[in-house]
Symmetry: C2
Subunit: 629 residues, 2 copies
């Protein structure tokens, strides 16, 4: 699918405006080079420097990647800068090439302090070294393979993971070059902190060092494969959580598991199975071998966390909603089992409360909510979303159980933000849609739903209570009028008729779909209102509202405000930051200092229980309605 | 099967000699009480005191139990004292009741220093306490079940084993009495040493605290269930190692596993499966639940150790016979998996070399070989036996690969020392046998084989080269003459004809059986000779020779000397100490100080490699022949 890419070069260039036609999915850097436009890429396009950065002039600015955050920092990201090597073209855009940088700006991350605004230095805690282990040749020796290895790298034999031992004798004798030993040092501790040996491989494999950032949501699961030295994102895969067949929301899933070890085991097996499919997929895409993955960071809400570990979540679902554990756990991959290096460290970020999980901690970490003197709000939109309100002084969080509607689930023609999903909608005299990949429409995803409802509200197709105006349709423009209908007992709005925009089948929005979105946005809006209420600050004091969630490239701030998903702040003070939970996991994957910081953040977050608050009921009922516009 | 028991009471008793007829398998104490003989049993017959001790006057003195060793000490044990509560009647015996003791002698072990000659204080490292954990009742809490538990017992949340978490919320809420928390503190370290939580159970289960001592031999596997507070042995089970179908000796088993992960896995699965059968059996016998078993100590040779852990033993079988690891490993039971408490600590004793394993360390520990100024030899007879020579000054060890003959394997009518096995043989003008349990003979076990060969040598049925004297049989007494025969190409000695001593089928000793015993005793005798040679000490300097191995109750020292299994020391300087490897495991099970001591012993043992020694070949060939009598 060809897309137009306009590149504005630097002043003084003979051709200041270059119009290219590129295949959707090509990176801006590759497209520029293929089109003969000079864009400096000092690190070779691996996200290790800032030289290829571009500023978005027209078109949707994609959420920043972890490398955008690390290399460019918060300020440049907010101004619309992105690394052209990390950013693919999916729709017509215009970007401005940045002026060339001096040599200084190129810096191998991991070798020194990070250059980015987040101040993150890459240090995943994983080190590989090529070691020649001397083995005794005569029989009176009083040693073992393990002791020789441990002595060569300066650790105690006990610090070598047990599954490393199985293949150790062969590895030590197979390659005259030696063995590559992979170690992990936890946390941001002192240089003398205990090292664990997580792998021993024959020959020199020091160049192969990968990790996984895993975001286990109630509805969606996202796994990202990252090179641990550069931070380069090699592959990412997203799927529906297969536990959903046992219940779409947390409460029904807890009810299924409740006091029933077999069902608990089923839920655990499903999620572990999916993660292993993800491992296989990101490895196939990238050519990385699973045994080269030595670290994984997992975020998720408390229930997802417990189910992944096989812990009975029954009491998470019963007042007072106590989690079974909260601390940051690190376990060997073989214990899940996750099919990467058996002794790879799987790090689960800490939890806060029964309904404020590691995902909330990851969002707080990625948005730097606790670092700024300014009061800011972060909203993570998901089936079990969270709302955070904070500054350097104080950090409050509550759950916002939006349900799966905004992830496209339990919506008649809903779907995830994958190819063919309607992700943008505008309505004037008729409906205009855009699909991901610009392919024929298959369904509608969360950002499309928000746009659609905003448009229908503005056009008067639905009223502030959410009712589709079947009776009053005659006052609508003719094209819209024809789309409003009763189907039996059901009110519907026909978004696409078969054939429209290449749609093979009809795509409709039902009255019930509208109600699902109202529940979702009501949960989030009332969460925001409750935190402001508890903190006793007026909305005006909020300097910035950060909207997070897995919406792909696009979420319209104006539409979100129009439907009342978020309060009516000036649009410049609202920013869509992408999947911040996954970004937080990526930060902890790439930096043990960040992982230690997650612990501090978790202990700082004050949990506000909505259900226990006497004022909540009224807030929620109010928030269910749409703003009267 | 009734057996006669003669009890000599104390001087002044009206009836100084009481003759009882008791069922075989009854404990001496029970038999005495049932027969109206007063024997003091201050602790109630649980092995916790010394008041019920008896001295053996006639009949075979059984090998000491762990409680004999702990309570009575080395000197009394050597003089023929045993605890009557720990000792069952299996053949006609005469015992003398000890004089009553003052109150002082009764001491609950575990509460103070041990009273026994081994100086062992029972402290298995396992503690149980009943804890009431307070759980928050309101929803704004910032805690978790685990944190509340950890705070209640004063440990960090990380020290709670992961599989404890699965059932934690239920356990904490089920019983108003509270939960019983089981912790393990490793080694003999300071009071502040790290505690691991190995189990949390609803209600008060503090009285239930058990452990396993496991001796994994190449041919035989012995599992003993022990109460961890008193040291009482509740059940013991012994089986053939089921790995034997893949090779009877170590080298053939290594060859099977060699560089073949599937075969390695098969060997591991077999032994783990057997251990789990043993667990089920000792639990059924004793009424103990597997989940109440919190510690296990495993000893075995290096190859058995590696196979149990799934470690490739290929290089243990190739010069220079390097073990993969040697250190004392502690792992949770779930990792094998051993079906006891999932987080129970499975402690493997340390190894010394490829062919000197944890069993040798356990023998050195149990025999106190390294504690005495006297130079002593300990011989552990088994398929892969070891010989140790040592004193306070120095400790040498070598392997003695005797093969399975003395465990009754690879012998035509061989069997383990179980009911129906011929365990004693005397030969005068004819053959006289005794069977274990005094039931009809089913086969012949190790001690019976040694007796049989000693008798046949004395009678001239076999000559010093081991040849059965078919050609010269006419010079034998008529009854023996009729038992020497050719069967086709094969020379045999008919031990029992069908019907003799109740035997259902013929039991013979073949020429090849004799050769197998010659190989076995040659390996052991040459091992002893080699250590004396390396240490440059004459046989006369050896003050005591301790014979260990799983021969059940009986091994004739005189027969062992007659066939040259051990050198011709004065019979008073040779002692049969029973299964010392298992005894060592039991010591480490009951005492973390002893387990720490095993580490010291392992590091002190100097390994002597027989195969690498230029003088070994000649020593071995000489040792294969029988002494000329």
């Amino acid at each position: 699918m060809p897309v137009s890419l306009v590149i504005l070069t630097q002043p003084g260039d003979a051709r200041p405006r270059r119009v290219l036609t590129v295949a959707a999915g090509t990176s801006i850097l590759t497209a520029a080079h293929d089109g003969g436009v000079d864009v400096t890429a000092t690190c070779g396009g691996r996200g290790r420097c800032t030289s290829c950065r571009v500023k978005f002039i027209e078109g949707t600015i994609p959420p920043p990647t972890i490398m955008d955050e690390i290399q460019l920092g918060d300020d440049l990201v907010r101004e619309g800068y992105r690394l052209s090597c990390q950013c693919t073209v999916t729709e017509p855009i215009t970007v401005q090439v940045a002026p060339p940088l001096d040599e200084q700006a190129f810096q191998i991350l991991g070798a020194g302090p990070g250059v980015g605004g987040l101040g993150v230095r890459i240090d995943a805690g994983i080190a590989k070294e090529l070691v020649k282990v001397s083995l005794p040749r005569e029989e009176h020796h009083q040693t073992s393979d393990l002791e020789q290895l441990a002595a060569a790298i300066g650790v105690a034999p006990e610090s070598v993971g047990p599954s490393v031992l199985a293949g150790l004798p062969q590895a030590l004798r197979d390659d005259p070059a030696g063995v590559t030993v992979t170690t992990f040092v936890s946390g941001s501790g002192p240089a003398g902190a205990a090292r664990t040996v997580v792998a021993v491989e024959r020959g020199d494999t020091t160049a192969m060092k990968f990790g996984l950032a895993i975001d286990v949501g109630t509805t969606s699961v996202v796994t990202t494969l990252i090179e641990l030295e550069s931070g380069e994102q090699l592959a990412s895969v997203s799927s529906l959580n297969p536990q959903a067949v046992f219940g779409g929301d947390l409460m029904s899933r807890i009810a299924f598991a409740q006091f029933n070890p077999t069902n608990l085991r089923k839920l655990q097996t499903r999620i572990v199975g999916l993660l292993n499919q993800h491992v296989a997929e990101v490895c196939r895409t990238s050519g990385v071998l699973p045994k080269w993955i030595y670290k994984a960071v997992v975020v998720g809400n408390t229930c997802m966390h417990h189910l992944l570990l096989g812990i009975d979540p029954s009491h998470v679902g019963l007042a007072p909603y106590a989690p079974v554990m909260r601390h940051a756990a690190v376990l060997p991959a073989r214990e899940l089992p996750l099919k990467i290096a058996p002794e790879a460290r799987v790090c689960l970020l800490p939890l806060v409360a029964g309904f404020v999980g590691a995902d909330a901690v990851a969002v707080a970490l990625a948005t730097r909510l606790a670092d700024s003197p300014a009061l800011r709000v972060a909203v993570d939109i998901g089936t079990n979303g969270e709302v955070l309100l904070g500054s350097r002084e104080r950090l409050l969080a509550c759950s916002a159980p939006a349900g799966p509607a905004l992830e496209g689930a339990q919506i008649r023609h809903g779907m995830r933000g994958a190819q063919g999903a309607i992700d943008k909608v505008t309505i004037d005299h008729d409906v205009h849609i855009h699909t991901i990949g610009e392919t024929p429409a298959l369904g509608i995803c969360g950002s499309g739903l928000i746009d659609l409802l905003a448009g229908l509200l503005a056009a008067g197709v639905i009223d502030w209570t959410g009712l589709i105006q079947v009776e009053a349709r005659d006052s609508l423009p003719p094209a819209l009028r024809g789309r409003v209908a009763m189907r039996g007992e059901e009110r519907v709005f026909v978004v696409l008729r078969p054939g429209e925009a290449g749609a093979r089948a009809e795509i409709v929005l039902t009255q019930d779909d509208v109600r699902q979105v109202q529940l979702a946005k009501g949960a989030i809006a009332s969460g925001i209102a409750m935190l402001l209420h508890v903190a006793a600050v007026p909305l005006e004091r909020v300097e910035e509202l950060l909207l997070a969630g897995g919406f792909g490239n696009y979420l319209s701030i104006l539409s979100a405000i129009r439907i009342g998903l978020i309060p009516a702040l000036p649009v410049g003070r609202v920013r869509y930051v992408g999947n911040a939970a996954s970004l937080g996991a990526q930060l902890c994957l790439l930096s043990e200092a960040e992982r230690a910081r997650a612990d501090t953040i978790a202990s700082r977050i004050e949990h506000v229980s909505l259900a226990a608050h006497p004022d909540f009921e009224q807030l929620f009922v109010d928030a269910m309605n749409f703003p009267r516009g």
